[in-house]
Symmetry: C2
Subunit: 325 residues, 2 copies
C-alpha cells in the first residue's frame, strides 16, 4: 500500500506566524519514529477561497504510517478538541492506495518529486505513454477492472455549516485523485519564460474550466505552489485534482480543448528543445479503494469532499480509535 496524506491548514496567510508554526510542527512530528519518507510544503488558495498551507507526506508502508499516526505527537495535537475552536480549519485527506491502483509519469528521468522521492523509488523508461488511455493502461488493476466511479451528485445542495465541527467523509470507491506537477525552478531563462507566458496560461485555463464545470466530474482542485525550506515560493507547482471517476478525468484530457492545448504545447516544446528541455512535468494518480476517511476540522463549507457528502447529521458518530491506521 502506498500512503499519501494531505494535511491542510485553512485560513492562515502565507508567511504568517500561524502558517509557519504549522509547518514547523509538522516537520518536527515527521522526524519522530515511523514518519513519512518524503514530504513537501505547499501553499494555495483553496476551493473555499482561503489561503491554505498544504503539507503532503508519503509512506510506502501502511505499518509505518499506522505507527506514526498512532504514536507521534501529531496524534495528540490532532485529537485535541482545541482543533475546532481556532480561527483556522484543518484537514487530513488520507490516501491509502494499493500499488495496482496507482500510476505515475515524469517528462524527464532526472528530477524527482512526490512519491518518486521515497527511497528505493526507481524511474524507468516506459512505452505505455503518448496516447489517450495510457494512464489507465499504466494502472495494473485496469487489466481486470473498469474502475467505474460512483454516482456523485454534480451539484451540491445547500447544507448546514460545518464550522466548529469535526467531520469525516467516507471516500467513494474509485475516487480518482491526481497530483499533476510542474517544475521550472532550474530552467534556462528562455524556457522558463515560455513556461510562464504560454504553458502556465494554458494550464490555468484548463483548471478554470474544471473548477467552473462540475459536470466535468471534477469535484474540487487546488493549485499549489511549492515552498522552499525557508517558506519562499519556488518555481514549482502542482495541482491536486479530485474526480468522481477515472473516466471523467480521461474524458477531459482526451477531448477538451483546454487540455489539448496544454498537451500540444508540452509536446511542441519537447520537440523544440529535445534533450535540453528543462521544464519538468509529471503526475501521480491514485484510484482509491472506497471506505477510508477524509477528515475536516472546523473547515469552511465547500471544502474538499464536504459538499459531496450525503448528509451531515450527527447521528452517525465516528470513533477515532487511538490505533487508527
Amino acid at each position: 500500500m502506498l500512503v499519501s496524506d494531505y494535511f491542510g491548514m485553512q485560513g492562515a496567510p502565507l508567511g504568517g506566524s500561524k502558517a509557519t508554526a504549522f509547518v514547523d510542527d509538522m516537520r518536527r512530528w515527521f522526524s519522530q519514529p515511523n514518519g513519512p519518507s518524503a514530504h513537501e510544503v505547499m501553499h494555495c488558495k483553496d476551493e473555499a477561497q482561503r489561503p491554505t498551507t498544504v503539507v503532503v507526506a508519503y509512506w510506502t508502508s501502511m505499518s509505518d504510517h499506522a505507527a506514526w499516526t498512532t504514536a507521534s505527537a501529531w496524534r495528540t495535537w490532532w485529537d485535541d478538541p482545541a482543533r475546532v475552536t481556532e480561527d483556522v480549519g484543518y484537514w487530513r485527506e488520507h490516501l491509502a492506495c494499493p500499488y495496482d491502483r496507482h500510476e505515475t509519469i515524469y517528462s524527464d528521468p532526472k528530477y524527482r518529486i512526490g512519491l518518486g522521492r521515497t527511497p528505493d523509488a526507481e524511474i524507468v523508461p516506459i512505452t505505455t505513454n503518448g496516447y489517450f488511455g495510457a494512464a489507465r493502461d499504466r494502472i495494473p488493476l485496469s487489466a481486470i477492472d473498469e474502475l467505474k466511479g460512483a454516482t456523485i451528485p454534480s451539484l451540491p445542495s445547500v447544507r448546514r455549516s460545518v464550522a466548529g465541527r469535526r467531520v469525516s467523509v467516507v471516500v467513494p470507491n474509485n475516487l480518482t485523485i491526481l497530483r499533476s506537477g510542474q517544475f521550472w525552478h532550474e530552467s534556462e531563462p528562455e524556457q522558463a519564460e515560455d513556461y510562464e507566458r504560454n504553458l502556465q496560461v494554458k494550464l490555468d485555463r484548463g483548471m478554470d474550466y474544471l473548477e467552473g464545470n462540475p459536470d466535468s466530474g471534477c469535484l474540487y482542485l487546488r493549485r499549489m505552489t511549492n515552498l522552499s525550506d525557508t517558506g519562499e515560493p519556488r518555481r514549482e507547482t502542482s495541482i491536486q485534482a479530485v474526480f468522481g471517476s477515472l473516466a471523467a478525468l480521461e474524458s477531459w484530457s482526451s477531448s477538451h480543448e483546454t487540455h489539448l492545448a496544454i498537451y500540444r504545447h508540452a509536446i511542441a516544446m519537447k520537440r523544440q528543445y529535445g534533450d535540453r528541455r528543462d521544464v519538468v512535468t509529471w503526475h501521480e494518480l491514485f484510484v482509491m479503494p472506497g471506505g477510508t476517511l477524509f477528515e475536516y476540522l472546523n473547515c469552511a463549507d465547500g471544502t474538499g469532499l464536504l459538499p459531496f457528502a450525503a448528509h451531515l447529521e450527527p447521528s452517525g458518530d465516528i470513533t477515532a480509535n487511538p490505533a487508527i491506521g
Copy 2:
C-alpha cells in the same frame, strides 16, 4: 481486493419471524446486480450474549461491492433512521483486504466454504503448512512487513451506552480477523461422533480461554453455526475471532495448551483415517489495512469493536456518502 462483509442482526431468536425476514431480505438484496458471489447464513450467541443472525458475504471485486452497496435496496434499508429504533441491533463489519494480506487453508481439497466458494477460486496443494509460523508465511506481505498490531487497550473502560445510536469504529491497522471453520455434516457416524465428543470439546475450551483472557489479544469472537436454506442448523460451524495483531493469534496457537490440544487431535485423526478423513477444518485470515469502518446500529454495549474504541463523543460526525465503497 477481497471483500468479506459480516452483516449481523442482534437480539432476535433463531427461527423467529424477525430473524427469518432478515435472512430473506438479505438474500433478495444479494440477488440484485453486483451482489456477492458467495454468502452463508449463520447463527450464534454473540459477544454481548444475545442471539444473533450473521450473514457473511464475499466479493472479489471492490467495484462490484461498491456498486452493490451504493445502488441495491440494501442501502436504503441500511440508511433508514428506523434501523436504530427497532428492538434489535445491526452491524456491518466490512473487511476489504488486499490479496497480499490474506491466507487460507483447507484440511481437504474437496470441500469449499467461505471465500473458497467464490467462482474461480482454486484450491491447490501447498508446502507452507504443518509448522508454527506457516500462516504468516502464507501471507505474501509478511515477506517485507512485520504486520505489527496497534496498541489496543486490553481492558475496555466503562462507556456510555450506544443503544439507539449509529456508531462507526475505525479499524486499526493490522487488525487480524480469523474465520476458522469445521464441517462434519456429511461425516460417517464414527468420525462425526469423534468430532462432537473430542475435537469440538477441545475447540470450545480454546474459545473459552480466548474469551476469558483479554490479555491474549483476542478482542472478541463468535461461535457461529451454519444454517441450511430452510434455517435449520447444520453440522457445520465457524468461529470469527478478532485479534489486535497476528502475533497475538500466533502466540496462542503455537504455545497455549488449549490450541495444542486441538492441533494434536486434528493431526491424530488425519493419521488414523488417512484419505477416509471426512471432517474438514479450514480457515481464512485477513490482516486488515487500517482506516475502514465497522458500523454498529443500536447494538448492545460490548458488541464487536465498540469496547475498544477510544471515545464515543458525537463530536466526530461521519458522513455516509451514498457512494461509499
